[in-house]
Amino acid sequence: MKKYFSFFRLRFVTSLQYRIAALAGLSTQFVWGALLILAYRAFYQAEPEAFPMSFQATATYVWLQQALLALFQPWGFENDIFESVQSGTVAYELCRPVSVYGMWFSRTAARRISSVLLRCIPIFLIAPFLPAPYGLAGPAGAPAFFWALFSLVLGSLVAVAFVQIVYFSTFFTIATEGVRALSASLVEFLQGAVIPIPFLPDGVRQVVELLPFASMLNAPLRIYSGDISGAFLYRVVALQLFWLLALVLVGKLMERCAMKRTVLLGG
């Protein structure tokens, strides 16, 4: 475990190495969140009854989504990993006494956590104090808050486990852009990052809610606002656990196949 934590630490240090990037990240999410909320405001003014969530709930959803963006970012890959598979530098990672899956998992998690810690600060400092329907509202209650926290941890792990599958698929495809683009757009839309999942039409929504993507961003945010509660809450969390297990299992299997058929080109 300690080994994997040290990947985590080094990745963390790396993201602090570039100061300007860190500073730029601090403000991006705040501005982006504000823009989205203003856009929603226009829609809500036209016909507030057409929306399944109140404007306040939507604003809270947007703020949380922006604050936690780095955890669920569809493009939040460790690009070094793709590059190392393509260029063959992955050879070095294969001659370390650690599991490649564990190593990549902790690197990706570290990248996301280090970046979310920086980026969430301005939003959590300012958004709760904005005037009523525009700000970040409190949780639906203490239990909802803790369930949301638990679900947030699970959701982030599901998101990282999904990315592992993308990494290992590049052992089989050589070119990585296709897999990356496809997976990023799937994650973006189906986890509720473009519009919240309750906004989807009936029939489509029920299916989307069962997919692994709904276990990422969607679950913790809606538990926080009380939209998911009671028996439905237990079902959602159980589904998160299921997808986490399933995705890790698939990733591990792919790792095993990849190791067997690794071909390293050139030199």
Partner: protein, 267 residues
Amino acid sequence: MIEVSHLQKSFRVARRNAGFSQAVKALFHREYEEIHALSDVSFSIGEGEMVGYIGPNGAGKSSTIKILSGILTPDGGECRIDGRVPWKERKEHVKHIGVVFGQRSQLWWDVPVIDSFELLREIYSIEDSLYQKNLSRLTELLELSQLLRTPTRQLSLGQRMRCEIAASLLHSPKVLFLDEPTIGLDAVSKLAVREFIKELNREEKTTVILTTHDMQDIEALASRVILIGKGRLLLDGTLEDISAAVGGENSGQIDETLAQLYKQYDI
């Protein structure tokens, strides 16, 4: 120490002629060719030996190194290092070996070299006292004191290579694989690297296996030479055996002798 018998490995290469029509044709029907990187290679190397593994481009040198270091799985044949089969007991095996791929980097690009070293210490679970001892010794012998605090991206090739070699020796491996360690180095750096490898072998009794195209590396370092070509083992002996193989008329440069030998074997 190292026992290799009847090692085989082949790759599939897609080939086509130049031109647009050929490219379209290849979409539907692809011609593959089997390349026998290794067809039947056997040798054994004892503890503390220093062996030069040579052959023309594409002879299968790197493939052998990759199999011996547990990265590639061969199609056939056996290999035991210290009683372990590298590709079957990868994690246990790699604890006891060090690898340098001259054309790739194992150091983290963005952070100072010492951060990469710290990471390796955790990965290999190197004990504190051993780590400090190795680090100070390597720092002294390879003159790293100025380099350790510099980010890898700002090192010159020679400086980086010295750090790469140090990185692969932090855990006191019993076997060191060097895949073209002097590629692209200037005269001074080359001499420093050679001197260091010699000293390492003398003092620590580290077994060293070295691939290179630089025959001066071989002259300076290897008491034994293994020559392969087209995936077959052609000669296993000393440098004198090589000049004897071309008829003993070794008047000139070792490079010319070797070129003559390649011609003689038609490789």
